[in-house]
């Protein structure tokens, strides 16, 4: 699924500068705890989280994740946005809850992938 479609499904707003026209997402994981997310095994994944500090970007960086979606209307802090721009990771925010965000993406065809 293209990031543009994910943005539409979640009615999300982009918070960063990185271009995302060609980014294809193959699977998604959702967690507020980064160690749970780090056990997620898929490449080209999407991370949904309510954690709005720079460690969600560090986690995405280690996992080669291109996009982080902040759920429950969380606003990213400046340090998060700065690090994401430096690492060319797209950050979006949606007002939907974690449960609803995951459900909407799953219904639209984005799978949960495997745990490594």
């Amino acid at each position: 699924m293209k990031l543009e479609q994910i943005m539409e499904v979640l009615e999300a707003k982009v918070c960063t500068d990185a271009a995302f026209d060609d980014i294809e997402i193959l699977a998604a994981c959702g967690s507020d705890l980064m160690s749970d997310a780090l056990a997620f095994g898929e490449n080209k994944g999407l991370l949904l989280t309510g954690l709005n500090n720079p460690q969600c970007i560090r986690t995405a960086e280690m996992m080669d994740i291109n996009c982080v979606v902040l759920v429950r209307g969380k606003e990213p802090d400046d340090a998060l946005v700065t690090l994401a721009n430096e690492k060319e990771i797209v950050v979006m925010r949606t007002d939907y809850s974690m449960y609803t965000s995951c459900g909407l993406l799953y219904s639209a065809g984005l799978s949960g992938g495997d745990i490594s």
Partner: protein, 142 residues
Amino acid sequence: MAQVLTQKYVVGADDFAAAGAASAAVKKTLKQLSFPVDFIRRTSIAMYEGEINMVIHGGGGIASVEIYEDCVKITLADTGPGIPDIEQAMQEGFSTATDSIRELGFGAGMGLPNIKKQSDEFEIISEIGKGTKLTITLNANS
């Protein structure tokens, strides 16, 4: 097995804003050395989990990274309180993290098990009151 280079990083105690910087630097080096993508990912995840543990549990310490042609050896040594029961600490879900650490996104009790899962060799030595030394090796061809 020729050694390519050695890197050392000081990991600060409770310096949560900088946590992960050492792992990010190692990841960048491994990319520059053209290691396989999956190997870089495994190494990055394992080191990052260990680095976070040093920050939130170990009172900071030294991360030493030896990069060889076909593997990476990482030693994370802290001077923290030590782990009383390593077998218990290795169980998925076991955590001594406080609520304030969980609010920062860590403390799921997955760190050490995940490090072991990503690594080809894993050794942890801990002494109460003196600290913990974690040594892991990841082979690029495994």
